[in-house]
């Protein structure tokens, strides 16, 4: 067993040389490098212009945020010494901590923070809401940002503490002044790690070096993005490994320290390995769903969409994707993510009653479905999406829907799903995909549950009733009142069927047991260290 402990402390280089005998110096280096494999490569490095999760995780290495978010979703000052809000709630003063520096060694000034908030406020929906309520976001001196509001916005710290897309990252003013729709030309932040552009190999490797000038805050406990961000590794190396089997094997062999998302079917193998910890760090996971194009036939017909509710078995999808292990997924998922205060059983019998495909066929015919061809976009390069495509194609065949399975790549799906044209003209009728469960915690952030027609996300459902209820939710005074409204929203959603929820996956992450201090939320690279 001596060999195993040796492998546990080493990484690719050390493990490889175990065969031929390694010079001690290589081993010493390896312990100061964290080897991580993300789900995909980072293509755009500016977190304000892309909703990519990889870019967000990259951004948390390189940039810092004014507020951090703790384990209870509470905002805590991060780059800030503290903040003040006037009695009328209309003026916020945010004071920066001492000693903050950008990677080009320039000090972080309030001007940088203010410009960063303004740029982020153009892209992020929470940010847009803040900017709509604000008269001015400006620096009063080098250390103080002042936000003057038209009406109170008590959730300002929550907005600035966002860890999900888009997070409000602070960059130098000269960059933050640039177009919010075009990636900044330089990657300069004030976060605990510096991006090493020269060592980047697109599609294969990203390298970050500890930024010696970073001063972690003194107070608080590290949790999610709040508290001191202490970097224990000299380098963080991301290897992009397309082949999930190879990635899992590399983790087993100790060539990787941390694999962001192991393939669901390999999790039992990893769990058996006593050197590997398999753990859920994001309990909201992802929610799979079937999205319709509400503008073109046949799915512009609500009765047809409603009929399909009777055909879907969430556990079929979830087992096909995640395997039989019920710790990795949940079925009976409605229009709010499990664990949200707004999750309810309202109308759920539509999804949970006994499935009767013969009746679905009859309902479809009664609703006016006449065998029209239905174009389904399937991103076959992403296993999760491909599996959902196969399950749906098989289900549709059984209920007599004439499905045209269009096997394309993810990039093409992204281009095509925004097209409103009818299917014959390069448009689409449906696709299956997933959304971050975090977005579905409440009606405010739940973009898929909007019913504002062409202004809504691709699919463009129109549901005036859902929109009215959403407005009422914002006005509601108490949580109980909000819950009642959320139930009504869900009942209405089962009538209008903007999409069909297909279940929730809670994919764990996996890392070598030699790592300690891995935080919840998403892959963060501070606080984590190698046990010696």
């Amino acid at each position: 067993m001596k060999r195993r402990t040796f492998l546990a402390s080493g990484a690719a280089v050390a493990a490889g040389t175990a065969v031929l005998g390694a010079p001690a110096i290589v081993r010493a280096q390896a312990t100061r490098v964290l080897r991580f494999s993300p789900e995909a490569d980072v293509v755009i490095f500016d977190p304000i212009v892309t909703p990519s999760w990889q870019t967000r995780d990259h951004a948390f290495l390189v940039y810092d945020t004014l507020f951090g978010l703790d384990d209870q979703y509470r905002p805590q000052p991060q780059m800030l010494e503290g903040y003040n809000v006037s009695n009328d709630g209309l003026t916020w003063t945010l004071t920066l901590r001492d000693g903050l520096r950008f990677h080009d060694n320039e000090p972080v000034r309030a001007q940088d923070a203010a410009a960063s908030i303004r740029r982020w406020g153009i892209r992020d929906s929470f940010g847009q809401a803040l900017m709509a309520a604000a008269n001015e976001v400006a620096a009063t001196n080098d250390r103080t940002v002042t936000v003057r509001l038209k009406r109170p916005f008590p959730m300002l710290p929550d907005a600035l503490a966002k860890t999900m897309v888009y997070p409000c990252m602070v960059m130098p003013e000269r960059l933050a002044k640039l177009d919010a729709f075009k990636a900044v030309p330089e990657i300069i932040g004030s976060g605990p790690y510096r991006f090493v552009q020269s060592e980047r190999v697109p599609g294969a490797r990203l390298v970050y070096e500890r930024f010696a000038g970073y001063v972690p805050r003194k107070q608080g406990t590290p949790a999610v993005s709040a508290g001191p961000k202490v970097a224990h590794f000299d380098r963080v190396e991301w290897s992009i490994i397309q082949d999930t089997a190879t990635a899992a094997a590399a983790l087993q062999r100790g060539e990787l320290d941390w694999l962001q998302t192991p393939h669901a079917d390999l999790i039992p193998v990893l769990r058996k390995n006593k050197n590997i910890e398999v753990r859920v760090i994001l309990p909201t996971g992802v929610v799979a769903y079937m999205r319709f194009n509400h503008l073109t036939p046949p799915f512009n017909n609500a009765a047809i969409r409603r009929a399909l509710l009777g055909a879907v078995t969430q556990s079929d999808y979830m087992i096909a994707i995640n395997g039989p292990d019920k710790t990795l997924w949940r079925d009976r998922v409605g229009y709010f993510v499990p664990g949200s205060p707004f999750e309810s059983d309202a109308g759920m019998e539509k999804l949970t009653s006994k499935r009767d495909l013969a009746k679905v066929r009859k309902d479809l015919a009664a609703a006016g479905y006449k065998g029209e061809r239905v174009v389904m976009l399937v991103a076959v390069d992403i296993p999760y999406l491909k599996i959902m495509g196969e399950v749906t194609a098989d289900l549709f065949k059984r209920i007599g829907i004439n499905v045209d399975y269009q096997a394309i790549d993810w990039t093409t799906v992204v281009q095509r799903r925004i097209r409103m044209d009818p299917a014959e003209q390069g448009g689409w009728n449906l696709f299956c995909i997933y959304d971050s469960g975090y977005n579905q915690l409440n009606p405010a952030s739940h973009a898929l549950l909007r019913g504002n027609g062409k202004a809504a996300q691709f699919g463009w459902p129109s549901s005036p009733r859902i929109e009215e209820l959403r407005e009422a939710w914002f006005q509601a005074a108490t949580l109980e009142e909000q819950k009642t409204i959320a139930r009504r929203i869900q009942v209405q959603a089962f009538e209008d069927v903007p999409y069909i929820p297909l279940g929730q996956s809670v994919p764990p992450t996996a890392y070598r047991r030699s790592l300690t201090g891995v935080l919840n939320g998403q892959p963060f690279f501070w606080n984590v260290r190698r046990a010696t």
């Binding site: 031929l20 190999v201 697109p202 294969a204 290897s239 062999r253 281009q415």
Partner: protein, 313 residues
């Protein structure tokens, strides 16, 4: 002979020209509008038109071809649609792993194939010969990825002898570099070994039936000297020719092998580019691989002048 060398070198120019035309045609026969892809998901019609004009995609094909060729000759292979990096730079960055893999594979394949082929020829007709040739047919019949996963399962996961994946530069020391190369080179070398062994056997047989070999035998030279001294030397021309053919096999195999073993080389770049429909990258990679292939075959042709002085031109 010099004029032969000159002519041979000149002859590669039209070949590369045709390759360039074919590759250019590929991009322009592609369905979909590269301008729309580059302009991004939320681009308006005007924005797409602007990008098209910027890229010169609205000009006549011939003019586009001209400027493309001009750029290629200056080493500019365009810009990736996916990550906006210059294609030439992306390829250069990945040359080392691919070159290392190709060379290791050739060493493995020739190292195994030459002895096998020579023994098969020497023992022609016996069960040894048949066993070796049987192995050669097997070699042709197992795709690279089948061998790759088999090796990975046994050598890396079960026996824990070798690292599963990745590439470590030779600059970090031979001890770090070699273990990562063994399995990929074996997987990729499998079919090549079969090809080379077969060719070695055939050429050796042909040479062994020649009069001067009989003479050498009659002179009482040892079997070893006859085989290695006389026969192998004279069989070298067809063997070297086969190495040229093998390079095509090697290039195709590199694409698969790098995917299986997560080696960040040009092969992986190719697969990534295909999955993303990143046409400029596909174009660049095919052009570079073809150029390499043509140049290697040129080098092989020229090597005949050294290997076989009997060939006159």
């Amino acid at each position: 002979m010099l004029s032969y060398i000159g002519r041979r070198i000149l002859a590669t120019i039209p070949v590369m020209g045709v390759v360039a035309v074919v590759i250019f045609a590929l991009l322009h026969l592609a369905p979909g509008d590269p301008a729309a892809v580059i302009a991004g998901d939320h681009a308006t019609v005007e924005e797409v038109a602007k990008v098209r004009a910027q890229l010169g995609l609205d000009r006549p094909l011939l003019a586009q071809f001209g400027s493309w060729i001009g750029a290629v000759l200056q080493g500019d292979l365009g810009v990736s649609i996916y990550n906006r990096q210059p294609v030439a730079g992306m390829i250069l960055q990945r040359v080392e792993p691919t070159l290392a893999l190709a060379l290791c594979t050739l060493v493995v394949a020739l190292g195994a194939a030459l002895p096998l082929g020579i023994i098969a020829a020497w023992k022609a007709g016996t069960w040894i010969d048949r066993a070796i040739m049987g192995f050669a047919v097997l070699g042709f019949s197992f795709p690279v990825f089948v061998i790759g996963y088999g090796l990975m399962y046994v050598l890396a996961l079960r026996l824990e002898l070798l690292p599963v994946q990745g590439y470590v530069s030779i600059r970090e020391g031979l001890g770090a570099f070699l273990p990562h190369m063994i399995m990929p080179a074996l997987a990729l070398g499998w079919a090549l070994t079969a090809l080379f062994a077969r060719m070695t056997r055939t050429s050796m047989l042909e040479v062994l039936s020649q009069d001067y070999i009989r003479t050498a035998h009659a002179k009482g030279l040892s079997e070893r000297r006859v085989l290695l001294g006389h026969a192998l030397k004279n069989a070298s021309v067809p063997i070297v020719t086969t190495v040229g053919i093998g390079v095509a096999l090697l290039i195709g195999g590199v694409v698969v092998t790098e995917t299986v073993f997560a080696i960040p080389g040009i092969g992986r770049l190719t697969v990534d580019a295909i999955l993303r429909r990143d046409y400029p990258v596909i174009q660049g990679v095919v052009l570079v691989f073809s150029a390499v292939y043509v140049l290697i075959n040129l080098a092989i042709d020229l090597s005949y002048t050294v290997l076989d002085p009997r060939i006159r031109y």
